[in-house]
């Protein structure tokens, strides 16, 4: 059951506008935007353009920080994370395409803190799938989606960005 809309463009407009307001409210003037590979980077790029930010986008590959290494092993093609500047004491906007259990964000926060102690982290996701297993919430999200147990959602991109709901194998 879909709440809100699945139009990625209108969700992005809403997120950009809410993020702008939130950053002003939090008195954050010069944030560093960091996307989680792969979908999160696409969303981060769009928000980066919409907010006309100066700092280069950072990318995180959280494969080495996952908590299910003992269950599913190592993903062979892990790309390096790239954080363009010192994050110590800076305000971070962390971006992913989807938040579900919260485990990816937990891993991303752990990795982020290995680069230094940020002043703040604001979490932005395109979709909230509302099946949280950890006490982690997005500050801003484009829409919420309740999937049946046998369904999954996938963001394809980067141009155009589309969301597809499909049956799991």
């Amino acid at each position: 059951m879909v709440q809100g809309t699945l139009s990625v463009e209108s969700m992005l407009d809403k997120m950009a506008s809410e993020l702008k307001t939130l950053l002003i409210h939090r008195q954050i003037e010069d944030p560093i935007i960091i996307g989680i590979r792969t979908g999160g980077i696409w969303i981060a790029e769009r928000l980066h353009t919409a907010l006309a930010l100066d700092n280069a986008i950072g990318t995180l590959d959280i494969s080495f920080y996952r908590d299910d290494f003992s269950q599913i092993g190592l993903h062979p093609k892990v790309q390096a994370s790239q954080i363009p500047c010192v994050t110590e004491g800076r305000d971070i906007v962390l971006v992913d395409d989807v938040i579900m259990s919260g485990r990816t964000i937990r891993a991303a926060l752990n990795e982020l803190f290995d680069y230094g102690r940020p002043a703040s982290v604001t979490l932005v996701t395109l979709l909230d799938l509302q099946r949280r297993q950890l006490p982690i919430q997005a500050d801003i999200y484009g829409g919420t989606l309740s999937l049946a147990a046998n369904q999954q959602v996938k963001l394809t991109g980067p141009d155009p960005l589309t969301l597809e709901i499909s049956q799991k194998d």
């Binding site: 494969s63 080495f64 920080y65 290494f69 003992s70 269950q71 092993g73 190592l74 062979p76 093609k77 892990v78 790309q79 390096a80 994370s81 752990n110 290995d114 680069y115």
Partner: protein
């Protein structure tokens, strides 16, 4: 000497994933490529400011060295630490008489400490395989060099170094030069190069330093350096293993250097963009001229850097293969 059986029956789990790393022999191209790709990720990570990931957090790695080593031990130690494992380094000198029993006793003692991985170096061929056969389930064994048999992580770090500089293996002529007879590195390299599809593998050495029937491994044999180096893309020099030479196999070091030492002059016979490698420690003026070792074509220090990444890759992959097997057994 230990009996070496089919290595893959012991080093792969039922899903075909690595669970021990004993030899490159008999592994698939897909698996060797997976090791190289995983290692590539770690090369990038090792260049970052924080050189540590939590993959092996809470695991205990024991470096069990029955034979002395500086760079292999230190790169294995760093690799384990950068994966967040706890590391114990044990240098155990061997007495040649009571190995079998002593080894089992040592193992049982270390297993009682709940170790998760043994990195083993031993002067006897087959030692790592023996340990992998007798170790408790879910403990991974990595071969860090056994006698004249194999040194698979050295071979894979050489493959990573070649791949990062040359890309594809299929057009490459690779020449391995020097003490082939005593070299476990050469054997592991030859297997890996064949599996990865190198166009031509050559060995260049005096007849006294060539094992009998080396051609059976699929290499071309040369006893004349300049001829063997012609058009080579990669030149791998080996260390003269004087400690393993039990009889007079060489007239003198200076004679060896004159005929087989890699000088800039001899290197001219290889391709102009040929790269030069050496597993170290190098004997300057015996196997290689300083001008070549320190020259623009030398990748000797890249090999050391890549060694840490390859060791991180096989350690995390073997641990992951062990855990996958444990889960599969629990489900069955």
């Amino acid at each position: 000497m230990f009996d070496i059986k089919d290595p893959n029956s012991i080093q792969l789990n039922s899903a075909g994933q690595l669970k021990h790393f004993i030899t490159t022999e008999g592994l698939s191209r897909e698996l060797l490529t997976e090791i190289l790709e995983t290692a590539d990720s770690f090369v990038d990570m090792n260049a970052q400011q924080v050189k540590k990931v939590p993959l092996l957090r809470g695991k205990t790695v024991v470096n069990l060295f029955f034979e002395s080593s500086t760079r292999t031990l230190s790169t294995f130690e760093l690799a384990a630490k950068r994966l967040s494992a706890d590391v114990l380094n044990l240098n155990i000198s061997t007495s040649s008489t009571s190995k079998g029993e002593t080894l089992k006793d040592t193992l049982q003692t270390l297993e009682a400490m709940h170790s998760d991985m043994f990195v083993v170096r031993h002067s006897d061929s087959g030692a790592a395989h023996f340990i992998a056969e007798h170790v408790t389930p879910n403990v991974a064994v990595i071969n860090a060099g056994d006698g004249r048999h194999a040194h698979p992580t050295q071979a894979m770090l050489d493959m990573l170094t070649i791949r990062r500089h040359k890309g594809d293996f299929s057009p490459l002529i690779v020449a391995i030069v020097g003490d082939i007879l005593h070299s476990r590195v050469a054997r592991s390299q030859i297997h890996a190069l064949r599996i990865l599809g190198a166009a031509e593998i050559r060995v260049i050495a005096p007849t006294t330093l060539l094992p009998r029937n080396i051609e059976a491994l699929g290499v071309k044999v040369f006893t004349h350096m300049q001829t063997g180096l012609k058009d080579a893309d990669v030149v791998i020099m080996l260390r003269l293993q004087k400690e393993r030479m039990q009889s007079a196999l060489l007239p003198s070091e200076s004679e060896f250097y004159k005929l087989f030492g890699l000088t800039n002059e001899k290197l001219q016979h290889a391709k102009p963009d040929a790269v030069v490698m050496h597993p170290g420690p190098i004997n300057r003026g015996v196997e290689i001229e300083s001008a070549v070792a320190d020259g623009p074509q030398s990748l000797i220090l890249d090999q050391v850097t890549n060694g840490i990444a390859v060791r991180m890759a096989v350690m995390s992959m073997s641990m992951s293969g062990q855990m996958a097997e444990k889960n599969m057994k629990a489900e069955a």
